[in-house]
């Protein structure tokens, strides 16, 4: 690769992409490239980094919006909204503990990968809160979609299409997000000692209660032992979080404990312990000691335990469940056989998988996300061509040949 360019502004990004288009040079697009080990490896002639294209461009707390250039570090955005008592709704994770490296992740990277944390189960994914984007397509043209207002159905929603497209359709240069007031207090109801099926049943009851549960996870004993805020319980835990005004958190955790009484005696974690426990779930701390491959499987919540059980039969898996059971985190050996087992379990559960981390050889040789049926794959190829006719933006990152 002949180096990585890091232009300081959108005009520079446009110039880089236009030049790459003219010379048909594939580009590896990234911010600080903290997620390079995700998905398929990109074969590129040159790198294009958004890291220098940074800074908050719009912040209107009373209108619940913040806009920033794509290279803005997430920590800067989180701090800016926190200064006004607000938070980023989808609770995006920080995977530095999985991918290593000290670099900070950028807004563009989080949106391009559509990464969402525990609050996703109740409040939507990162893509749900992207109000507007500016992006450079594969022909070096600036394309805008959405805007800075909370409700907007004008034209095709390219914001959602580009969120989660991993830089394969266009280079995001600026993004506007909806934000919300951060809760005054957090509390967590903990049900110890349940097996995965009972645990997810308890989480479903919690999420199906009128008490506004904002996150729900199940950690088997091994995973729970890696989280100090939960390890003291000495076994598996099902945990459900409430976030609200202080009086509401006290009331709602109490009512939840009563409502879940048939699942055993619940403990309540206070604000500080809740923050620590959910940060660990968000960032997949229970898997930080793993050296092999890591998968995220998305299924209907009630299918989560069967997916975990199925892969645990195939290999020595370290796993836990977020999103009420619907997100199965799995760590295991970086082998084609293990990957087969995960794919089979995800298919049986009626859901999808993502090979989040693996050595380059494995990621280059297997489907890192489910292949699409032929009719949809043709649309994928056509939409890719509609943005990037020469196939220069992160080629092959999601699918071989796209």
């Amino acid at each position: 690769m002949s180096g990585t360019a890091a232009p300081p502004d959108e005009a520079g990004i446009i110039a880089e992409v236009a030049a790459a288009h003219d010379s048909a040079t594939p580009l590896e697009i990234g911010g600080c490239f903290t997620k390079r080990a995700m998905l398929r490896p990109v074969q590129a002639g040159r790198g294009l980094s958004l890291a220098a294209c940074a800074g908050i461009t719009l912040h209107s707390p009373q209108e619940l919006v913040i806009g920033a250039k794509a290279g803005t570090r997430m920590s800067e955005i989180a701090a800016a909204v926190a200064a006004h008592g607000q938070h980023i709704i989808s609770e995006p994770p920080d995977f530095s503990g999985l991918f290593g490296g000290g670099a900070a992740q950028t807004l563009g990277g989080v949106v391009a990968a559509n990464l969402s944390g525990p609050r996703r189960v109740a409040w939507g994914a990162t893509r749900d809160h992207v109000l507007g984007v500016r992006a450079v397509n594969g022909q070096g043209e600036l394309v805008r979609s959405g805007g800075r207002v909370l409700k907007n159905v004008t034209g095709l929603d390219l914001c959602k299409l580009l969120a989660g497209s991993h830089g394969t359709l266009a280079v995001l240069t600026e993004i506007t997000l909806k934000v919300l007031p951060a809760p005054e207090r957090r509390g967590t109801v903990v049900l110890p000692g349940l097996d995965a099926t009972q645990g997810v049943a308890a989480l479903s009851a919690a999420l199906g209660s009128p008490y506004g549960v904002s996150a729900a996870a199940y950690l088997p004993a091994e995973a729970a032992s890696q989280v100090p805020a939960l390890a003291w319980l000495g076994g598996p835990v099902a945990i459900a979080r409430v976030e609200d005004f202080a009086t509401s958190v006290a009331y709602r955790t109490d009512r939840l404990r009563a409502e879940l009484a048939s699942f055993g005696r619940a403990e309540i974690l206070d604000d500080a312990a809740s923050v620590a426990a959910w940060a660990a779930v968000r960032d997949a701390v229970p898997l930080h000691g793993e050296t092999g491959a890591i998968w995220r499987v998305s299924v209907r919540p009630s299918a989560g335990p069967a997916v975990a059980e199925s892969v645990a039969r195939a290999f020595a898996a370290n796993w836990f469940l977020d999103w009420g059971g619907g997100l199965v985190w799995i760590a295991g050996p970086a082998t084609a056989a293990a990957h087969e087992a995960v794919m089979a379990a995800a298919k049986a559960g009626g859901g999808t998988w993502l090979l989040l981390r693996a050595p380059e050889g494995l990621r280059a040789s297997v489907a890192v996300i489910p292949p699409e049926p032929p009719a949809l794959a043709r649309i994928t190829a056509a939409v890719k061509a509609a943005f990037d006719p020469k196939g220069i933006l992160n080629p092959g990152r999601m699918y071989a040949g796209v």
Partner: protein, 479 residues
């Protein structure tokens, strides 16, 4: 009057053969071709525009929709998808050479799963029908457009419909998990499912709000939510739009997100009060309806805080509901707003721009000035938390000059919304109504990119033509 593409002469000439072909694909009663029976399909909620279609077909299954699409695709026939026909932007307006595919016979609820909090329904199930199916168990489907008694979930997906409770629960796009779609060539594809994060491109997000430009939706998997313990409303009236707007900002800044935060200006208050006798204060310039949820104690806490904030804004009156009946009374006028305007004006256009909420006083002042210069009345209803503004422009459809002024007035309002940093449509969609204004919000490059995405799904531009894209842009590549 809006310009429409010329009908394809060869399609008009083959009308009988096309109708006969459709009759082979769906039950006899599912094909409508007699002029008198086509009449109900000539328009939708934007009744100023009318065009009788070539024929109407009413399939009863996804497979029949696919067979119909394969046939019409082979025949090069344009297609207009239609739910209940409640679009306020002309999203279901036919063309003379187009076949309307009505989804009303796809009206079954296929699956309800409380443990996984989702329901799968056919496209012709009404919005309220989903909530009615689950409310006995304490659940509901959140998006609640004003037309929810009639409008169908397939149309809600097509338009990415909103409602009065979006501030808390989001719009349609935020409440979907999966779709079953039929492509222009008649292929059936499942998008998403009952899981939260799909792999691959976000087809669910792209298709939602695509106004029938990309594919037909036959089944929808929605998130269903457990209802709150209770909800209660309050009403606050103020001396000026500025003060009411400042009060909205102060509520949001306090960290409270009410489930609804509705704003009405003086003309809207008067029209609604005359219609519904809801007890609205007639001496106010602006009024807020604010609703919160939770246990009774939580409602008291939140309404108490909001009341304190309102009291700092010199209110003319404050009324905090003490019961479900009082809450219903507070909502009664707002929910009847469209009927109320219909009572004082023979016709009205319901506009749908969104603005940054901080610009509300300025925008309302300029709309007032336009009202004077166009000599047409206007009442403003505003989803204040999310900036979605509904000016109701009153005119007389029997007076062509009045209608022409109303259309120009509406266009000026939407241009103003874009000028202050907002957009042309917050929840009604572009349809035919705002098609020719797209260049106000988007650059030629922006629109060309959207058009190429449309091309990727529908290379022949057979799906819901003449909507969304300015007509000059809306040409198939081959043409």
């Amino acid at each position: 009057m809006i310009q429409q593409p010329a009908p394809k002469p060869d399609v008009l000439a083959r009308r009988d053969a096309i109708v006969a072909g459709l009759r082979r694909l769906v039950p006899e009663s599912g094909v409508i071709a007699e002029p008198i029976r086509l009449k109900p399909y000539e328009t939708d909620g934007l009744a100023a525009y009318r065009q009788v279609p070539l024929a109407v077909v009413l399939p009863e299954s996804t497979e029949q929709v696919a067979a119909v699409m394969r046939f019409l695709h082979e025949q090069g026939v344009r297609v207009i998808p239609r739910g209940a026909g409640t679009s306020l932007s002309g999203g279901a307006l036919p063309l003379a050479d187009a076949v309307v595919i009505g989804m009303m016979r796809l009206n079954r609820i296929l699956d309800i799963d409380y443990a996984d909090r989702c329901a799968t329904v056919q496209a012709g199930v009404t919005n309220i029908g989903i909530t009615q199916a689950v409310q006995g168990d304490g659940f509901f489907y959140a998006p609640d457009p004003s037309s929810q008694l009639a409008c169908m979930i397939g149309g809600n997906v097509g338009m990415n419909s909103g409602g009065a409770h979006c501030l808390r629960y989001g719009v349609t796009a935020n409440n979907l998990l999966g779709l079953k779609i039929v492509t222009v060539a008649g292929e059936i594809i499942d998008i998403g499912g009952a899981h939260l994060d799909a792999a691959g491109y976000d087809w669910l997000g792209l298709l939602t709000g695509s106004e029938g430009q990309l594919a037909l939706v036959t089944e929808v998997t929605v998130r269903i939510l457990r209802g709150p313990e209770g909800a209660r409303a309050m009403l606050a009236a103020f001396r000026s739009n500025e003060v009411a707007g400042a009060c909205v900002d102060a509520i949001i800044a306090s960290g409270i997100i009410p489930v609804a935060l509705e704003f009405m200006d003086r003309p809207a208050i008067h029209a609604c009060e005359a219609f519904a006798h809801a007890g609205y204060p007639l001496d106010a310039e602006a009024m807020l309806i604010i609703e919160v949820e939770g246990s009774t104690a939580e409602q008291d806490f939140l309404l108490g805080r909001i009341r304190e904030i309102c009291e700092r804004h010199d209110p003319i009156s404050l009324k905090v509901s003490q019961s479900a009946e009082e809450s219903a009374a507070i909502w009664k006028g707002r929910k009847g707003a469209f009927g109320a305007i219909g009572r004082i004006s023979p016709d009205y256009l319901c506009m749908d721009g969104t603005i940054p909420t901080s610009r509300l006083p300025d925008v309302l002042r300029r709309i007032g000035e336009m009202s004077e210069s166009y000599r047409l009345g206007v009442a403003n209803i505003f989803h204040a938390g999310d900036g979605n503004l509904h000016p109701l422009i009153m005119f007389d459809a029997n007076d062509p000059d009045s209608f022409a002024r109303a259309e120009r007035f509406g266009a000026d309002v939407l241009k103003l919304c874009v000028e202050v940093g907002g957009c042309l449509t917050g929840e009604h969609g572009v349809g035919v109504e705002k098609r020719d204004l797209m260049g106000v919000q988007f650059s030629a490059t922006d629109l060309a990119q959207q058009r190429r995405v449309k091309d990727a799904f529908d290379p022949g531009w057979l799906l819901n033509p003449s909507k969304v894209f300015p007509l000059t842009d809306a040409l198939p590549k081959a043409a």
